[in-house]
Subunit: 475 residues, 2 copies
Amino acid sequence: MNDKQVKDITGRDVDFGKWYTDVCMKADLIDYSSVKGSMIIRPYGYAIWENMQAILDKMFKATGHENVMMPMFIPESLLNVEKEHVEGFAPEVAWVTHGGKEELDERMCVRPTSEVLFCEHYAKIIKSYRDLPKLYNQWCTIVRWEKETRPFLRSREILWQEGHTMHATSEEAKAETLKMLGVYEDFQRNYLALPVIVGKKTEKEKFAGAIETYTLEAMMYNGVALQNGTSHYFGNHFAKAFNIQFLNKDNILETPYQTSWGVTTRMIGAIIMTHGDDRGLVLPPNIAPTKVIIIPIGNDNEVENIANTISSNLSNVNISNKVDNRDKTPGFRFAEAEVKGYPIRIEIGRRDLENNEVTLVRRDTLEKILVKIDEVTNKVEELISTIQKDMYDRALKRRDSMIYTANNYEEMMKIANTKNGFIKVNWCGNMECEDKIKEDMGIKSRCLIDDEEVDGPCVCCGKKATTKIYFGKQY
Amino acid sequence: MNDKQVKDITGRDVDFGKWYTDVCMKADLIDYSSVKGSMIIRPYGYAIWENMQAILDKMFKATGHENVMMPMFIPESLLNVEKEHVEGFAPEVAWVTHGGKEELDERMCVRPTSEVLFCEHYAKIIKSYRDLPKLYNQWCTIVRWEKETRPFLRSREILWQEGHTMHATSEEAKAETLKMLGVYEDFQRNYLALPVIVGKKTEKEKFAGAIETYTLEAMMYNGVALQNGTSHYFGNHFAKAFNIQFLNKDNILETPYQTSWGVTTRMIGAIIMTHGDDRGLVLPPNIAPTKVIIIPIGNDNEVENIANTISSNLSNVNISNKVDNRDKTPGFRFAEAEVKGYPIRIEIGRRDLENNEVTLVRRDTLEKILVKIDEVTNKVEELISTIQKDMYDRALKRRDSMIYTANNYEEMMKIANTKNGFIKVNWCGNMECEDKIKEDMGIKSRCLIDDEEVDGPCVCCGKKATTKIYFGKQY
């Protein structure tokens, strides 16, 4: 790879879709195989997922959750227990019909999500109020038979985590739903530098079988929304369908209340499409598998030694880094470092050494900074915070510049026809208006806005509005 | 659970199979569901797997391996590329034939192992000697459609890791095969306290498609062998079948050489059946999710405070521990601690406190030790090493007491008919003799013995022996 090849990445403003795929491929995040609709996650892409998993897993455990592993198959009769749920998922599952040469008595799908498996288990292990809450999570692969797929965003196989919890009261279950939404928001803002908007989904857009669905809506560079995680409150109707009951303190049988919540490798897609640029990936330092790439220039022992010393010093303060001393031109190595989005690049050449200096390059701004060798570690530590903060702030600024307010249907239509972004409107809460907007403008509701007062009639029917809401195009 | 319920575990010497299932269930390691042939791994069982995964993953990365994620499906035509391989696996795979309502053009199996997926990918990404070696691993679930299943040992779904590597020369690939065998051996001896025998499999017993298969053979309490991990050398015939080629330093096309290696949750079964006793699970401290369980006795603030102080002190030196102060009788809590196999139990009662002492109980020997409160942390640290070593030594002693030597066919038959264990014999290397022994005695070859000289003719045909070999019953 050289500078020319970096320039072979399709321009972000030329064809955003093609730019995205180019970055996924050229940064060695994914590859394709003969398995249609699935992707190979390559070591560099998987290392990002491993970081996400490690951080989130710690957050889940700190909030009292335990990991389990449910079967990956669901017998058809089990999927059928909860009516709304099966209607939502049956059209998009993969069916196993044969084991070896024998046809199965009952076909099974590969789990598209595991509510029914958890419920069946909970019915066996929950007997008393002492058994509650049950706070389980699993890290696994699910399958949804999508027709059109796109790396990380929409794939037939999805790496994710799914939390499934049971509580004695609906208040506790609602609190859990919001707590985990908060964990996701914290993670996405502070590690992924994503200024997500969180809020409740409409009845139309909620999860199949849920009472309430909360979402994290990220906005991509092109103004298109990406639903980047959800947290659901189920009430107790799954529990009723599965006959889950517990004896309360007064020895009376009650039905518990349920939640589920999940995030996927889609978060990698959100990072790419929020922070990436024409030169490739730009990783937020707090999630980058390698925060610093050190590139010694020229075949020079002293330069190599300094590179290795800087590397050890960074490792000593737990800053992940790599020395790239491959037998390739500096241009090639710089270009590859840019495509792969390492947050900081350190260039070390003979000339700089004479001044006892090296060059630090910020990936997010491409700014070059000369730093004395013995100040490198301190400067890198400082830059990591600065870059993380700046990336968030830039994404926030861009997001806010693409939030539009429409006061009437005509205005809304005009915005929808000419711009991507989120359109904020007053809404009566009626699904017919939501449907009409989708039909007329090709945009869907993102989430309800709960911290702003209604200031006008419904943008669609003109009747009394009950809430403000965002609409927008989505992936 | 109380002492009586612990005694409800079937005696280990009464019915070993039932004892095993009782321990899996009563220690809350697994549960069953309506998904036949699969198990639910419950939080306590999954925590053991998470420890195994964390330790092994570190060992893999320290030896230069990177994690990836391949698709979980294999199109039938891809599985068919390597003939021996497909013949070995096709009879036991689960076939996906439908996506949603539509029948697939080509059916796909859920991966039973991923050689063909890695090979297809390697064919795309390996071009030059500079791309070698490729040292990839993945942690995932595989599916093999077993007729008879048993928790952890044989299941339709298996949690495992599979390493797949490519090398420029056969020497390097052979060295990798042995290196990873060594990593497994180190892990199983030093963390799981399993005195495994390692060696090469016969032609008959090797992995479908491999040139050489090395195995780790653990011996269970009842003398039955458990194949507890394998490492395979493939030569380059998969690479040829998949047309994987690289330009060597002289710019000439060559075919690379391949390995694969894997271990599974079966290792949890090996721990149970090697170390467990009539009171339940006994976990080696180096793999136990909770090394110390602290049980305060009586409703007594001072006792509770001491319990919490001891817990913090242990946490400060990174010894995982839990205080069990549930509103249950001491008898119940002691019994549960025994069933779950926590390596060390600390009992704290009012009477001991007056002497400034607490009681430590070793799970492996049930020995009780009075310890001054301010010496608890030191004593626990010491006991952890002692227990780990003693568990290994006891398992080794038992294993060695069940290795028998047979000098002729009659002796071998007599041992096979009356005893479980490994039978060491001289063998000509001919598969007909191996088949005859299996037919006559119901035992299979375990592995070749490479550190002992042949000292007689083949135990079966009486012709010149070429090697010593172990035979035995297996799970």
